[in-house]
C-alpha cells in the first residue's frame, strides 16, 4: 500500500475517533469550560497559521504577490460580511487577474 493512502486512512480513522467523542461521552464526562475555551482558541490559532503560511509561502519560499493579494481581497470581503461564495470567487479572481497581468 502506498504511503499517501496510509496517511489518508490514518487521518480518516483519527478524525472519526474525534467525532465519536460526543456520542460516546454523552452524559458521562463534562469538559470544563476552560478546556473547551482553550480547544477553541487552539483551533483558531492553527487555522490562522495555516492560512498565513498558505497565503504567503509555497514550499519553503515566498509564494509571490498575486496569491496574498487575492487572499487579502477575500479577507476584506469576509470582513464586510460578504457571502461565503463571493469571498472564495473574489479571492481566486483577483489572483488570476494579477497573474494574467504578469505578476507572479
Amino acid at each position: 500500500m502506498n504511503a499517501q493512502l496510509v496517511a489518508v486512512l490514518a487521518l480518516a480513522a483519527g478524525t472519526y475517533a474525534f467525532r465519536l467523542a460526543g456520542p460516546v461521552l454523552q452524559g458521562r464526562v463534562e469538559l470544563p469550560a476552560r478546556v473547551q475555551e482553550l480547544l477553541g482558541q487552539a483551533a483558531t490559532v492553527l487555522l490562522v497559521a495555516l492560512l498565513a503560511t498558505g497565503a504567503l509561502t509555497a514550499g519553503h519560499g515566498f509564494a509571490g504577490w498575486a496569491r496574498p493579494a487575492g487572499v487579502l481581497v477575500g479577507g476584506v470581503l469576509a470582513w464586510r460580511r460578504a457571502p461565503f461564495a463571493v469571498v472564495v470567487v473574489g479571492a481566486a479572481a483577483v489572483t488570476a487577474l494579477l497573474r494574467l497581468a504578469g505578476l507572479p
Binding site: 487521518l11 461565503f84 489572483t95 488570476a96
Partner: protein, 231 residues
C-alpha cells in the same frame, strides 16, 4: 418598488424557519462546492492520483484537514507529517461533537453515522438553534447536504483538474486561505486573546516555514497560544 418588496416580500423574520434553513443550507453547500472543486483540482495539480482526494473526501470529510494534508504532500512532507497536521486540525471536531451530540438522534446507528457528519458548518447550524427538534433537523439537513455537495464537487474538480493542468492560472490557490480567513473571522472578531495568540502563532509559522519540514511550522504556531497566555 424597493419599499414594497421590503414590506411585502419574505424577510429573514417572516420566512418560515424550515424554508430559511433549506435556503441557508443550499447557500453553504454552493460555497463548499466551489471549495470542493478547487480542492479536487489543486490535489490533482499537486501530483496526486485523482482517486486519492476523492477517497479522502469520503472518509475524512473535513476541508481544512484535507487541504493541509495535500499541502504537506505537495511540499514533499512525509505521510506522518500529513496525517499529524490533519489530525491536529481535526481535534476541534471532538469539541464540536460534544456540543452537538444531542442533535444526532438517540439510536446508535444514527449516532454512528451522524458522528461522521460533524463539521465546522454543521456545528454552526446546530449551535444557532435551541429547540431540540430544530437542532436535529438542522444537523441532518446540513450534514447530508454538505456531504453530497462536498464529495460530488471534489470528484468533478479532481477529474477536471487533470484536464485543466495548471490551476494556478485560475487563482484557486488563493481560495483556500481566503476560505479559512472567512471561517475564523467570527472567532477573531470577538476575542482579543484569540486575536493576539493567532497573530503570534501566524508570525511564528511564517518565519519557521523556510527552515522546517512542511506541517511543522503550523504546529509551532500553538506556541503563540502559550506565549500570550503566560503574558
Amino acid at each position: 418598488m424597493r419599499t414594497v418588496q421590503r414590506t411585502l416580500g419574505p424577510t429573514d423574520r417572516t420566512l418560515p424557519a424550515d424554508r430559511r434553513l433549506r435556503r441557508d443550507v443550499a447557500l453553504v453547500c454552493l460555497a463548499d462546492g466551489v471549495v470542493g472543486l478547487s480542492f479536487g483540482a489543486v490535489a490533482v495539480a499537486s501530483g496526486l492520483p485523482w482517486w486519492l482526494p476523492v477517497l479522502m473526501s469520503l472518509l475524512v470529510f473535513a476541508g481544512s484537514a484535507q487541504f493541509s494534508a495535500v499541502a504537506v504532500f505537495a511540499a514533499g512532507g512525509g505521510p506522518v507529517a500529513a496525517a499529524a497536521t490533519g489530525l491536529l486540525l481535526n481535534t476541534r471536531t471532538a469539541a464540536f461533537s460534544l456540543a452537538v451530540t444531542d442533535a444526532l438522534g438517540r439510536s446508535w446507528p444514527a449516532r454512528l453515522v451522524g458522528a461522521h457528519l460533524v463539521t465546522d458548518e454543521t456545528a454552526a447550524f446546530v449551535l444557532a438553534r435551541t429547540d431540540p427538534e430544530a437542532r436535529r433537523r438542522a444537523f441532518w439537513l446540513s450534514g447530508l447536504g454538505l456531504f453530497a455537495a462536498w464529495n460530488v464537487s471534489v470528484l468533478v474538480g479532481a477529474l477536471a483538474g487533470s484536464a485543466l493542468g495548471d490551476t494556478d492560472r485560475f487563482g484557486l490557490d488563493a481560495a483556500f486561505p481566503a476560505v479559512l480567513l472567512a471561517l475564523v473571522l467570527p472567532a477573531l472578531r470577538d476575542g482579543r486573546g484569540a486575536r493576539r495568540a493567532a497573530a503570534a502563532g501566524a508570525a511564528i509559522a511564517v518565519v519557521a516555514t523556510p527552515f522546517l519540514p512542511a506541517g511543522v511550522p503550523v504546529l509551532l504556531a500553538l506556541g503563540g497560544l502559550a506565549l500570550t497566555r503566560r503574558s
